[in-house]
Symmetry: D2
Subunit: 410 residues, 4 copies
């Protein structure tokens, strides 16, 4: 199977690619893949040994040029391992991406003057052609790992497919790059995974197109750190009927992501994506903000501190706090492979549109309202056990299951 | 419904009793009860308004005598609330308990020279008679909230009921007080809940007796703090296929519990109860200890710090830590009520022996191998939805569901 | 000695007043006063037993009206203690303050439409008259505990006294309320302490006036929480020649302070005051922000989390983090008394202008460049040992003493 | 200058040696040395460029054999740097140490059956001869970096030199290895630094011998982690007149040190060394333990968590906690160099016996009662400014300077 990555020079993409190549050669253990664990043993997933990578980025070329520099900040691989896969990295060519709608923070990352002359239709057609050339008829999936875009104009949420087509004809500048890529993926009939908070294929018009064309979608915004912990931990308070009065979180990160998110425009997308989860897990919305700050000394590491104040018997107040010290690219890389294998499986089975059973991997799951990590995992297992049949997973009303802190009528 | 508590002068018992009396009079909100949340709305549970309390302790008398002093360290209730229920507390009489097998740390708590002259049979019969007098034919349950006993002699685990009866006849000093109480509860045909790590009704011989007699049991060791968080959080690592290399925890607490647990004998029971949960949730046992230390300045508060080192993609190491600052009695009190209501319901339905569906409330659940908090909650909901029918809950092999870090055969 | 507090209804002022009255009556221990420790035993300080309180606030009246509500959020005193001093609180009258220059967040706190009709000169004269009436010839000091104002217009820093007088004549709206109060205090010949980050007496023109008039000043911004820890801890890294690459801090607080600081205008003053300390303690400025967020569930408590990344031998990176859980009013109250006693002593000795030896108590010490807590304490002890003689304390070049991370010429 | 290290194969010794060799060749920055900062610029210290290393360990050989394996767990140096200094490491020969008195945990580290046949006198003479051969008349110092020994028999503290000589003649098994090494160093007229909690030169008899012979001593137990932070932070509470009710600390570490300290015998030395500091810094002893646990996943890293409960105005309770994540060898290595340079300087100046001014570097400073890090630094600066003249540093009564929480007589 082939994986085509938007933002192939980024740390997550480079970490996923180099780690896979190294594991294929026996240079590193294959750790951290959920799809390698027992419950997935019976599925006919693409073998890790067969995975091939390609993609695009702001500056074209090949991956060997930037791999060393990119991976130094991550610190996940010994230098010798990166050296050993250099010849393969030189063969991974990177085509030119599009800058449309990335916002000023992304434009600032592009070397030289950004070329914004290409129309939306031209960009889509060029990318579709790149995708078809890459896949060359073999099974392939598209993954968005590009920098976070600013929040999309709300008007786009009301467009049907016809309205989107019209806007593309008019070269409407409100259509973000991530959605042009998603359109191209669907047009090329390749499954599309959106690992970022950008709009991507989440526009109703694109979901309509994907369903018509028979292309499965998965998204949005990989759940790798603070939100992962939140959706594992918040249900505990509900299960113990403890009322969460406030939940405050601050995230510091030092990589390009942090730099892009330091721009208030782009940060808004991320924070919106992070904030809904507590209400979904608890049944109400505690007080408290989610902060994201750029802290260069951390390089590709991320530290999140969360402070939770809750109330129990007799209204007594208690507290808990946690600090998460993770490496984003290391946490995200195996999820990219898991998702690629599972969406390819959904495609083989003829599923189309958002695959709700893959919500486990995302902060803003598309195709399912479920946010509780443990219930998402149960939903995925049910999907796997049903042979991947789209079982309308986890669409039961969570309000029935999660104890909201109200009193029983008595 | 009546609730008879072993260790009625303790902080949890006093907090549960005073809080309930205050809520019955509208002086405090009724917060923190799972059985007051929506999923339990249809069950015919005993109304909180009808609950009555009684019990025994090392020194007999009534609860009013010690309530003020006990609750001061907890800090959960305004002084005026305690004052307002004083007349009721004076009517709650406390019978004399038994010291047999509590270990030297518990004996040290008793005022004056401990009276150890009573034989096992005499103690059982006296307590049975106390229980029958208390219940007076009305629905009632027995809850063990006494101090933690030392680990029981392993020989008792191989006794059948006949062997136990013989040992009682011989006044065998290895039978702990908690099991004498459990025997008395079963003999009085009252459901028995063991909220402590002591042996209680967990001896196979007592389970046999309870099944024969038709008495439901629930235990063991209330899951209120560090272990609660562990069983909510550990599954997250499994769900993300992250390998937990080590999980270290230290607990500091300042109340009688802490003092009793400062004795290595009694601490051993507690730590044994705490340690199994990670293996059950992860499928393997990470390195690391669980410490419990007595830290008087905390009074009835407990602080637990946990440090977790885990490994992901390419073997890269990451870390997380949390600090839990809770008040044991406040966390435990509503669980006592939830358990009393639910086991009484099981008794109405004719269930007997350990009720596995109540494993959610315990560190060492009896009647179910499930430790994962989220799966325990699902099991309880299934039990509730089935009208409480003993549905052999959650006995599926967890190894099939929890992704152990091994590789898929390929 | 009498203490006149600007912002007398605030939590710190109420906590200081009620705590002192209670200690005077033997209802509470007198804890937390530095001036009650051994090194200060020989100084002729005003006795705590003799302290009397008065002051002004946005709504006049007496302190009894708001004490209960204010102190509930602090939780420092039993209700019975507050009750016991109620008669005294009814005798503490509160005059009307001025709103000029407090910024929109402070104006929002005032009930009804704020009255901004009074001119600067009129406000000064009214307050001067209030102060003189309060002191009535006895020793007295003025303490600013009002809400933080927005940053002052930089132009005011270049004004000499003549320019300030001219601006007052012109009723220049850029002169903040805190400076009008400071002017009034100096005019009334009363020592002035600025416990807030507002400008107060820090304008060069007011220092000139204080020196001419013979009035001692102390300020600015009480060092009670995160900054206290920072100035105690940062020198450790210097002493071990460890390079601090980044120091990130976030503060959450739930009281009026938090609400006022949620306004970006007012927050700017506070953050400016917090940020200089690391450079002063380390000799260079690490990367990282200081955040302040409003988190209502905390009421008057404050939680600060700081994350520090540092580099040692061979450039190896290490980390440390701390969480501070304090109660602002409880930490600040005794400092108000310590400062009042010490500045009154300076006044007795004839010192005038900013007293650098009191820098220990402030985030932005006036009259001394020293920020290192431990060196500030040594400077205060030297001042005390010299009988309070203005010893140009701590004006040695800190660069000579603090090991900056540069290499020795070799 | 030459540095002879007892325990040369250990992580700290290897990290110090490899890092120095690399810095001498310009392969690494020379970071983390206090003696390279401005205040030490005028002292005639041995140049880093001239430092040479040697020493002994349980198994003789040369350092190249174990450097790679040892440094892998530390992670401070890139592999290429270690490779580059391999030829030098091959020239650093390691002589055979002695096992006498190391305790069973150290004996377990020795490969094969430990040879305990050598008498105390024979061991001293052999080591003295090794030291003389190494120094060959050039300036040299001896540093103890061996594993922590069990607590020494208290009887040894009452021995004068004559009694020690007699005990040596009798081959008394209570004399620990560290003291034999110290005796040999003094006999060889080389300054001796004890970086461990073992007895070393702290026996009164050895101090007597050192003073007679004119040899300077420095010790004991390098202050690199939790205790460093404690002695920087505890004075803050005193300076604010906050009463520390309890201070609890737990340390987890994963290297040989952790393994040796997992033995209760050896741990006792370490904990004794750690516990005195709070009383010395505060003037009283708060409640709370210091724990050390072996946690293998951390390798050479150490994590310490400390929880502090303190009381302020009106007796109100507050809390603070910190987590220190350091790498012991990285923190200790530069201190070894700083100490070697400074004690060599003391030796040049003719100072003998314990050098109190070097107390800054130790948990149990010898020659000075001062524990407060900041005051230790001031004392060192005074010593430096006085040209190293033994200025009876910091022997003022700390009770006079540190505000104990008692009240001023009034």
């Amino acid at each position: 199977m082939k994986i085509w990555i938007i933002g192939l020079r980024g740390t997550t993409a480079t970490t996923a690619t180099v780690g896979t190549l190294a594991a294929q050669r026996g240079l590193l253990p294959l750790e951290g893949l959920l799809t390698e664990t027992a419950p997935f043993g019976a599925l006919p997933l693409a073998e890790v040994q067969t995975l091939e990578f390609g993609g695009c980025d702001l500056s074209p070329g090949h991956l060997a040029g930037t791999a060393h520099a990119t991976l130094a900040a991550v610190g996940a691989f010994p230098t010798a391992v990166v050296e050993a896969v250099m010849p393969e990295l030189e063969r991974i060519s990177i085509t030119r991406g599009t800058l449309r709608g990335g916002g000023r923070a992304v434009e600032a990352l592009a070397e030289g003057e950004p070329d914004l002359s290409e129309s939306a239709r031209e960009a889509i057609d060029r990318i579709t052609s790149d995708l078809q050339g890459f896949a060359a008829g073999a099974p392939a999936v598209v993954v968005n790992l590009a920098s976070t875009e600013p929040l999309t104009d709300p008007a786009l949420a009301s467009w049907d497919l016809a309205a989107l087509e019209q806007a593309l004809d008019a070269d409407d500048s409100r259509i973000p790059a991530s959605s042009l890529y998603a359109y191209a993926a669907v047009q090329a009939r390749l499954p599309y995974i959106n690992f970022t908070p950008s709009a991507g294929a989440s526009l109703p018009a694109l979901i309509e197109l994907a369903r018509e064309t028979g292309v499965p979608l998965a998204g949005r915004d990989g759940k790798t750190g603070e939100t992962l912990v939140k959706t594992a931990l918040a249900p505990m308070f509900a299960i113990r009927a403890l009322t969460v009065e406030g939940w405050y979180g601050t995230n510091i990160l030092g990589n390009t992501d942090g730099q892009v998110l330091a721009d208030p425009e782009n940060r808004a997308s991320k924070i919106t994506s992070k904030q809904g989860v507590l209400e979904a897990c608890l049944g109400y919305s505690p007080e408290g903000d989610v902060r994201i700050d750029y802290f260069p000394p951390l390089a590709d590491h991320k530290v999140a501190w969360n402070f939770i104040q809750f109330r129990g018997w007799g209204g007594h107040r208690m507290r808990m706090q946690f600090t998460w010290e993770g490496t984003d690219a290391v946490l995200a890389a195996p999820l990219v492979l898991d998702l690629a294998r599972l969406i390819n499986f959904a495609w083989q089975r003829g599923e189309a549109g958002p695959i709700g059973a893959l919500g486990l991997f995302f902060k803003t799951p598309e195709g399912s309202p479920e946010m509780n990590l443990h219930r998402q995992y149960e939903a995925l297992l049910r999907w796997v056990e049903a042979g991947g049949q789209q079982a309308e997973p986890a669409l039961e009303d969570p309000a029935l299951r999660l104890p909201a802190p109200q009193r029983r009528a008595s």
